[in-house]
Symmetry: C2
Subunit: 223 residues, 2 copies
Amino acid sequence: MKISELSRTTGVPVASIKYFRRQGLLPAGKATAATLAEYGQEHVQRLRLIKALTTLGGLSIAAAREVLTAVDQAHSTESALGAVSYALPVPVAESPVGDADREAETGSAAEAEVEALIAAMDWQMPGTSPHVQGLTAALRELKRLDADYRPGELVAYAELARSAARLDLDRAATFDDDPVSLAEQAVIVFALSAPVLELLRRLAQEDQVRRRIAGGKPEPDTE
Amino acid sequence: MKISELSRTTGVPVASIKYFRRQGLLPAGKATAATLAEYGQEHVQRLRLIKALTTLGGLSIAAAREVLTAVDQAHSTESALGAVSYALPVPVAESPVGDADREAETGSAAEAEVEALIAAMDWQMPGTSPHVQGLTAALRELKRLDADYRPGELVAYAELARSAARLDLDRAATFDDDPVSLAEQAVIVFALSAPVLELLRRLAQEDQVRRRIAGGKPEPDTE
DNA sequence: AGCTACTGGATACCTTCAGTATCCAGTTAC
DNA sequence: GTAACTGGATACTGAAGGTATCCAGTAGCT
């Protein structure tokens, strides 16, 4: 199909398609002539994936490109998952300011905590993993706000995270029947589960708050 | 302290402090004269919170304002949590395009799924909750990518979410000794746990991937 | 009283991001 | 032959998140 048709079927403006192509998110169509290219079903799929990654996953164009590149170079589900995991943006920025003394002491404390956690969970981590870095930074930030986790709390959360990860991986394993878009599915599981999980947590929080407000009093009937 | 001192202690440029004040994130200092205001420790704290919310929590200025407004108007931990929960941005945007037929069928399917999930979890939800809307939209999007959850999977995730929410609420309850910044702590728990949890999940995923590549045995040992 | 440093407030400006729109010259299907 | 369409380049837009500048009014020191 021509680019205009691709635009029509996906609902993405032609200009945007060109933009994504320019940004390396979307492969160019098969050129049938100097000024004409043929697009296929894979482009439709890719466009959908891009849309999902950016809107649902909240990825920037640059992050999406990295993820998609990882997808294209992956030769197995695992390698795709690994690459994607590293390509996904970590939601923590280092805060370069603040008093240096406090920084130093809380900084090393956060590091030690993360190290202890990884040991407690029996995780084998390179230490250079961006996730380790990110977690350390996040804990540092929380410490600075005097809202850090008490000993054990973090482990409890980590146990939940482990369960979630098992579900994720199991889920990824069920996609084995379609090897073509296998890596894509892996991406989806990794990148797009996060918002779903977060939403679920919010829902659960909302329910918990409601219940605890009600307190010992009898359950308020639904209207 | 004067605004310049506030700037020095927090590391936030004066212009930015003014900006936050203008945006309603930071209360004005107590005016000691027409062109002079006194800032206190609460401003330092607030500035830290703003920074954490925007960098760690990834909130926009507008979202942060909403959250902070909720904090200021809260009279109990629960009301703060409730307000904050709704003020936090939901990471899903409706995709208004696509073929209408498929849209209709998957759309209602997603709705039914969410409804069933809420029933299965015994959650009492208004249905108008933005989280319900968001989850529905997210599932719709995943369906469109042919990566939707199989029956039961979602429930498993929801159970994890429930556990996490319990931990969250328990955590929030331990802050009762400092009623001044109580609402702030609640915000932190709700808004800033998300990145930590997500990071933990990534860590766990990374570990899982490593184990499954190495062992070929998808069954990790229990400790 | 005079001088300088600092202030709140208003406004203008800058950079990045994610698209959109325009222009162009080369096909191509009719 | 011509109207429709193309890839490619470039320009533009609008929002977001700050920064920087300008201003006249003090405060505090001398």
